[in-house]
Structures are given as C-alpha cells and as structure tokens.
C-alpha cells in the first residue's frame, strides 16, 4: 500500500525532490535535501566543487539511487555532461541519433544539429571537432528527443571564455523553442546570473539560499541589480570577505 503510494507520481510536470539523503561511506553528501523545479524553469545549482551538486544531478538523471527520501522527475530527460562524451567511433549524426527510434531519426538529428549551428558537420568525426563544437553536438543529442527535463552538469566549464559566452547565447535562444525544465550545475557565479530563472546555492548537503532572477538580458550583463545579486551569491558561497 505504502509502496504503491510512494511510486505513484504526485505532479504532472517539473521536478520534485523531498528529503533526499545520499551517503558515501560515513559522509552525508546530501542531507535531507529539498528542491522543486517548475515546468519550463531554468534553475541554476551553485556551489563549490565537492559540495554534492553533481551527486544531486546524477540522482535526478537516474544514474544513482538515493539512500533516503523521494525523487520525482519526468521520464523524458536528457543529460549534458561536463565532457562531451561523444562516441569517437561514430560520426556526428550517429552520435545525435543514439537514443532515437523510427525512420525520421536522421531528419530530427539534422534539425537539432542546425539548431546548435552545426548544419553541414553531420559527417565529421568527433575528433575533428573543436571543444565548443563537440559540446554543441552533446547539446543537440540532449535536445533531439524533446526532453521534459534537461540536466546540465557544468557543461561549459572546460570551454574558453569566448566560447562560453556564445554557448550562453545559444542556451537562451534554445529556450525560446524548447520548453523543458532545466537544472544547470555550475560553480561559475557569472554563468548562473547569465542564464538562471532561479539560483539556488548548495551548502552542507542542502539547498541554502535561493534567488529569483527577474532581470532583462541587458540587465544581466551590467546593472546595479546584477552587482547586488553577484555580491549576495558570493556571500552565500562564503567569499564575501574579499570585498
């Protein structure tokens, strides 16, 4: 009876994380953590390395199981990892169609590739791509199945600053076409401000402060509100003493 209740979904969209515990040895990486993500919302999970951000993301992806609590996520979900994780022995197009079925798979993959500005690169081998191109293929691979939840695990951390800014623009453009809940894990405060609808800061295995970001694109680049948010986030991360 209780088992049935526990597995029955409670809401139709978004993400619901309740009192989730995950321990490695005697270390509580996630300690009764709560988090919700609404439909079509982009939540940025901010925190220093080793704070359990990636652990939470892996739980949401279904790559790991919690030791306690409850997690509810859409079945249609996709992950973009920090490394591109492309199959080196498959051409770009085949990398994108990996999870697809049906006769229109190639056509959908081509469309997804053109959305990330990689039309015409379908036949390239992953080794021939630059870091930014490879990561865009990974993005196309995630988008092509029209997921309801996209999990991004520091996807731009290994890219150079210029490419990273272009990727931010790309993400903003893609959000207009694709409606999905998104969780972006990062340790980069500026990236968080550039992209987030809501920024949650993680500390001691729980979600600490949350900041709703309701700024225009221009205000995210430079404004008083931006600087205030930045200062608040740095304070949350314990870096405020430097100012």
């Amino acid at each position: 009876m209780t088992g049935q209740l526990a597995t029955a979904p409670r809401q139709r969209t978004g993400v619901l994380v309740e009192q989730v515990v995950r321990t490695f040895g005697d270390r509580n990486v996630l300690d009764h953590l709560d988090l919700t993500i609404d439909d079509d919302e982009l939540v940025v999970l901010l925190g220093p390395s080793g704070c359990g951000k990636s652990t939470l993301l892996r739980l949401l992806a279904g790559l790991d199981k919690p030791d306690g609590g409850r997690i509810e996520v859409p079945a249609k979900r996709a992950v973009v990892f920090q490394a591109d994780r492309l199959l080196p022995w498959q051409r770009v197009l085949r990398n994108v169609t990996l999870g697809l079925r049906g006769p229109d798979a190639d056509e959908r993959a081509r469309k997804a590739l053109s959305e990330v500005n990689l039309a015409g690169r379908e036949k390239a081998w992953p080794k021939q791509l630059s870091g930014g191109e490879a990561q865009r293929v990974a993005l196309a691979r995630a988008l092509v199945a029209e997921p309801e939840l996209i999990l991004l695990d520091e996807p731009f951390a290994s890219l150079d600053a210029i490419t990273r800014v272009r990727m931010h623009d790309l993400i903003r453009a893609l959000r207009i076409k694709h409606h999905a809940s998104m969780l972006l894990v990062t340790h980069d405060v500026d990236e968080a401000i550039a992209l987030a609808d809501r920024i949650v800061v993680m500390s001691n295995g729980r979600i600490g402060n949350a900041h709703l970001v309701q700024l225009s694109a221009a205000a995210r680049e430079a404004s008083v509100a931006r600087e205030e948010l930045r200062a608040a986030l740095l304070a949350d991360l314990g870096l405020a003493s430097q100012h």
Binding site: A61, R77, A78, V79, L87, W89, L98, G99, R101, W125
Partner: protein, 303 residues
C-alpha cells in the same frame, strides 16, 4: 594610458648607455627559425636522407641484412650448409614449387592453420563476448582462461599427443588452443574496458539495450578485438610449427624436418621464410582491418 606607456619606454631609451648596438655586441641568444618544410629541406644531406628513407621504409634493415648476407655467401665466407645465399633460397623455393613438393605441403599447412584458427577464434569470441557481457560468463570462463594462459603452448603438445593421438586432431587442437586463449583474454578485457562514462551517457539518452551493445560496447571493444586477433594469428602459426614437428608426413614442418635430416639447409630456410611470410601476411591483414574499421581513430592525426 597607451601613450603614457609609450612615453615611459621612449624616456628610458636614452638612459641606456649604448642603445641598440648593445644587443649586437652582447652574447647572441640562440633562436629557432621555422620555415615551411620545402624551404628548409633543400640541403644536400636532407635530400639524400629523404631518398634513402623513402622507398624502403621499415624494411630498410631487413633489406640491408639480405644484401650483406648475399655478399658474404657469394664470397664463400658463409658455408652453404650453414646459411645459403638468399638467391639460393629463392631458386630452391621455385624448384620445390615446380617439382610439386611445396604446393601440397603449403596447402596442407594452411588448411590446418585455417581449421584450427576457425575453431579457436569461434570459441574465443563466443566465450569472450559472454564473459565480457555477463557476470556469470566471467565466473564460468575467466578463471579457466587465466590458468590456460599460463601454460606454454609447447608444453601442452605431449599431453595432446597422449589424449588425441598423433594425427590431424592434435595439430588442429593445438593451433585452436594457441588462437583461442589470447582472443578470449583480449576480448574480455576490451569489453570490460569500454569507457564507463560513455555507457552511462548512452543510458541517459534512452537508448535500448541492443543500441548500447551495438553502438557503444561492440565498437568500443573492437580495437581490443584486433589486438586479440593479432595475437591469435601469431600463436596459431607458432602452434602450426610445433604441431607439424610431430609425426607429420605432409606440410611445411615435414619439409623442414626432412631437410634437416639430410642437411639441406636451403630447404630449411625455405620453410622458415614461408612461415615468416605467413606471419607478415597475418599482420598485414589485421592492419587492413584497422585501417578500414578504426578510421575514426586516425581520421585527424594520420592524414
């Protein structure tokens, strides 16, 4: 700000005692200049080196050895019974072929190697795939394969003679044993060694189980499979040589033992040369497979 910096430099210049000539008189620092290859390689030595290197490639040393060998044999420094001249070996090969001795012997040897390889590779591949994919497969085959791997091929021969007699069966089983064990070990390691992060990624895309196997695990294990194949081919030829020294009345091994009995060193060399050519062909075969199927690996660096 830029102007200020320029001013500082300009102001500093007159302060230096001798100005620009100081750099010329100071001990020269070593510097590298890089030019396009065609410009730099115009030296006589460079051209000579390229000419020398180009036509022979990795076969330079073998060819040099052959030439020296030929000269030594012709000048009489090397006894024909000790090491006949390469040209003698070639003419012996041709005459053996014309006499209809070499053809049937080679055919029977190739047949043995082929059947043994087929058997050994089949068993090695089937058990390797099962062991690689299934935990129970690993428990069934891995211990046995590790034990078999420690037994030298040649040491099994006497036992096989006792068990299976001195006929074809022993020879084929010995070759199969030599081919099967390295194939299993390499295939098992290759499947288990496929990057875990790629398998994980494939699962997150919602790919079916068969998709993960066919697009991630099998292609990922293929380089290791080719390593196994290379070992299998080499060991099967080793097994062939060993097997044919026992009670053979046909085949290359028979040719060699018979020639040894009559001190016909040139015929012994013919056998050895053919064995080595078989080995080279096997190696080339795997190289071609690599070039065709592992294009993704070299697409960037090698072209």
């Amino acid at each position: 700000m830029g102007t200020t910096m320029t001013n500082v430099i300009v102001a500093a210049k007159p302060a230096a005692p001798s100005g620009p000539p100081a750099a010329a008189s100071a001990p020269s620092r070593s510097r590298d200049v890089f030019l396009p290859g065609s410009v730099r390689r115009q030296t006589v030595f460079g051209t000579l080196r390229r000419r020398l290197r180009w036509p022979l490639g990795i076969y330079t040393t073998p060819v040099v050895i052959l030439v020296v060998w030929e000269i030594l044999a012709r000048s009489g420094l090397l006894e024909p019974t000790y090491a006949p001249a390469p040209s003698d070996i070639i003419s012996t090969t041709i005459s053996l072929w014309r006499d209809g001795v070499l053809g049937p012997d080679l055919a029977i040897s190739l047949q043995r190697a082929g059947i043994g390889l087929l058997l050994g590779l089949s068993v090695g591949i089937v058990t390797g795939v099962l062991g690689g994919f299934l935990r129970s497969g690993e428990y069934l085959f891995n211990g046995l394969a590790q034990i078999l791997n420690t037994i030298p091929l040649l040491a099994v021969l006497p036992l096989m003679v006792v068990w299976f007699g001195i006929d074809e069966l022993t020879k084929i089983l010995l070759i199969a044993f030599g081919a099967g064990v390295p194939m299993y070990l390499n295939l098992f390691a290759a499947i288990r060694g496929v990057d875990q992060r790629l398998i994980e990624m494939a699962h997150t895309t919602g790919a079916s189980r068969w998709r993960v196997v066919s697009r991630v695990l099998l292609p990922g294990a293929f380089p290791g499979f080719l390593v196994g194949l290379r070992f299998s081919l080499a060991y099967s030829i080793l097994g062939l040589v060993a097997a044919e020294t026992v009670n053979a009345d046909q085949g290359l091994g028979f040719l060699i033992t018979q020639a040894q009995t009559y001190l016909q060193t040139n015929k012994v060399f013919v056998g050895l040369v053919i064995y080595s050519i078989l080995g080279l062909l096997a190696d080339q075969f795997v190289r071609i497979l690599e070039r065709v199927f592992l294009r993704w690996r070299s697409s960037y660096e090698a072209t």
